[in-house]
Amino acid sequence: MDSLSNPFMPPQASTIAGDVDALFYFIFYVTLFFFVLIVSLIVFFSIRYRRRKSDETTSGVAHNTALELLWTIVPAILVIVIFAWGFKTFIRMSIVPKDPLEIKVTAQRWWWRFDYPDGLTRMNELVVPLGRPVKLLMSSTDVIHSFYVPGFRIKKDVLPNRYTIAWFEGTSEGTFDIYCAEYCGKGHSEMLGKVIVMPENDYAKWLAEAGAADESVPLDQLGASLFVSRACNTCHSTTGKSGVGPTFLNLFGHEVRFADGGRGIADENYLRRSILEPQAEIVAGFQPVMPTYQGILTNREIDALIAYIKSLGKE
């Protein structure tokens, strides 16, 4: 219903979203005015001055200084107003408020990795407290990506070998989409993430649990959650369909053909090597695009993923 009354911008969820939308709707109504003016003149003139007789004569008027000045000066003033407004809001979007929660964002084809100050790492899922500025220090390990959260109205390119900054302050609880907005190849449209904004108390609880969770859960369950949280699902399905990478369904224990013509059995060692040295053996029909998980997954987490893949094997 909201999308009917407000067809354009998504619901506002950050402190600057309101500012951006205010400018958006200011421009919207200014341009709507000119659009209606111009189109009604086209339509009116077309009807009123359509050729009725084949020998009509027309006037030779080719100038009207007052009119010409009017349609030069009025748009000039309006565009300067729009520029100044956009400029003012842009400055606000550029300057990070004091004492933000600082999170390191690493973009890699095709996932987002978020490193929290105390060492916690999440993939494709950014959990932040409500009402506190979050500063994102972003860099890429391969090509240019762009961190885009429509609900927050922020977008910033993420460049290799250089840091860029974005910041936001969530104003409502909920889950918001993260898109990669700079074309980055095959998995570009799968490079999605979520920002989860929760109250400060819940955030503290989440932070405490997130670090501890690993030890208490059974391996295959942990694997199932890692499969999502470490972004395996960006490229690998569990349904039998091939994505960027091979599916995990019925993978375990089956024969795998490699691009160099070799064959092998998908056992524990094969899976472990594929996670840590993805370029060592490329499955036939796929591109060597998977990055290594060396240093990202702990041993227990690798075991957990293998257990999960096993559980998807032949029943």
Partner: protein, 537 residues
Amino acid sequence: METAIKNNYLNSPRGILSWLTTLDHKRIGILYLASVMFSFLLGGIFALLIRIKLLVPGEFLMSAEAYNRVFTLHGAIMIFLFIIPSIPATLGNFALPMMIGARDVAFPRLNLASWYIYVAGAVFAVYSMVQGGADTGWTFYTPYSTMTTSSVISMTLGAFILGFSSIFTGLNFIVTIHKLRAPGLTWFKLPLFVWALYATAIIQILATPVLGITLLLLILERAFSIGVFNPAMGGDPVLYQHFFWFYSHPAVYIMILPAMGIVSELVSVFSHKKIFGYKAIAFSSFGIAFISFLVWGHHMFTSGQSDLASMIFSFLTFLVAIPSGIKVFNWLATLYKGSISFETPMLYGLSFLFLFTVGGLTGMFLGALATDVHLHDTYFIVAHFHYVMFGGTVMAFFGGLHYWWPKIWGKIYNKTWALVAWLFTFVGFNITFFTQFILGSRGMPRRYYSYPAKYEGLHEISTIGSIVLGVGMLIMAIYLIASLFRGRSAPANPWNALTLEWQTDSPPPTANFAATPVVTGGFYDYDKVSPNPKGDS
């Protein structure tokens, strides 16, 4: 029967070879027309493939890799092989020398060379397709373009070569306009289409060489890792974007300025009224051409360029709005108290006014820094530039094509089918691309193979629109080709226009005019003639 047909540039001399070695600007215009329309067909097929894929999220019709190649080819072909040469090299080549009363362009050999270079560039682009195509997007951003395994070098080499063809056309036009005007044709009597082509040519010669050096560096970077654009070697990918947009933003005006020139002609001829604000329209073309070089950074507000640069570029960007607005208002004022006839070219002329207004006004959202951050790289951008490029340039190109068609071929097309095709095109276009404004402002990023389910409905509408648009194009192709074989013969001046090309036969003789015309009156003095004078010369 044979004796009834006068000798004209189409029938003498005869033979394929005489066409392939022709130095006649009219024939070269037709060679360009054929190749450009073929590219348009190719690019259009890719466009429909994109839209059909986007009917549903997830895997459908083609893989993500194939999709990435398809949208790259759509963009590269439409930009480099279709829109940039579309108006100047076809209609401009055909009409410009006649409009200034010349027998040819200043350098006919260079003109023919430019077509052969175009073909050579196209061959490289096609070769890239045969190799599987490039998957970088038409912008070839580094470091993606230096890392991908797809066939980037032949595609960029194709674009590099096409640049020369564009430069040669521009160079030729400038010299032609300076040196070959008919006696009595002073600067401020020039038709506005000629002014527009002149401003376009200036951009072509100033901006295109930078594309050349950029693509050369890109090719060297990819082939030999020279490091200038490679961040791992101390180079800077954002510098590539500066280089690329220094050409590619002005290039947008290479595309739109000639379209504005055509619309100036159409509005005046079909309102049968003196053009309002002749000098304002002529000078605003130059204003736009000049400012177009100062605004490229507005493609880079979120790229990590300095905030200072973003602010300067944003400010300069808004300056473009003023001359563009002046043009639109002058056209409107020309309609006022005119005697408007809705011939096919005028339908496209008025469509241009409508669609360019939408395209131009939505540019305001993108020039403003704060809103651009949200809208950049979304479907809002896609919609905006299709409104300007298709709604603007291509609509005006169709207008010009229908306007000069009787002159080019000496034949008249079926006006009823022309009306039907226009209706499909106009309606289909708006359905396709207006929905994309909504998609974009809701956050749908561009160049996405798949998309979240919430965007599905709008994508479906857009795809339906694209099919309607495609049907319109198909009808147009059929009746235009049919007119060549079955069309009625066209009189010398079917629209009662005053510019010089209408004062000679349709189709014109090889030498354009029986005797060098001497210009005395104004080309827009429609107040002094009746719309339907009997016995025009």
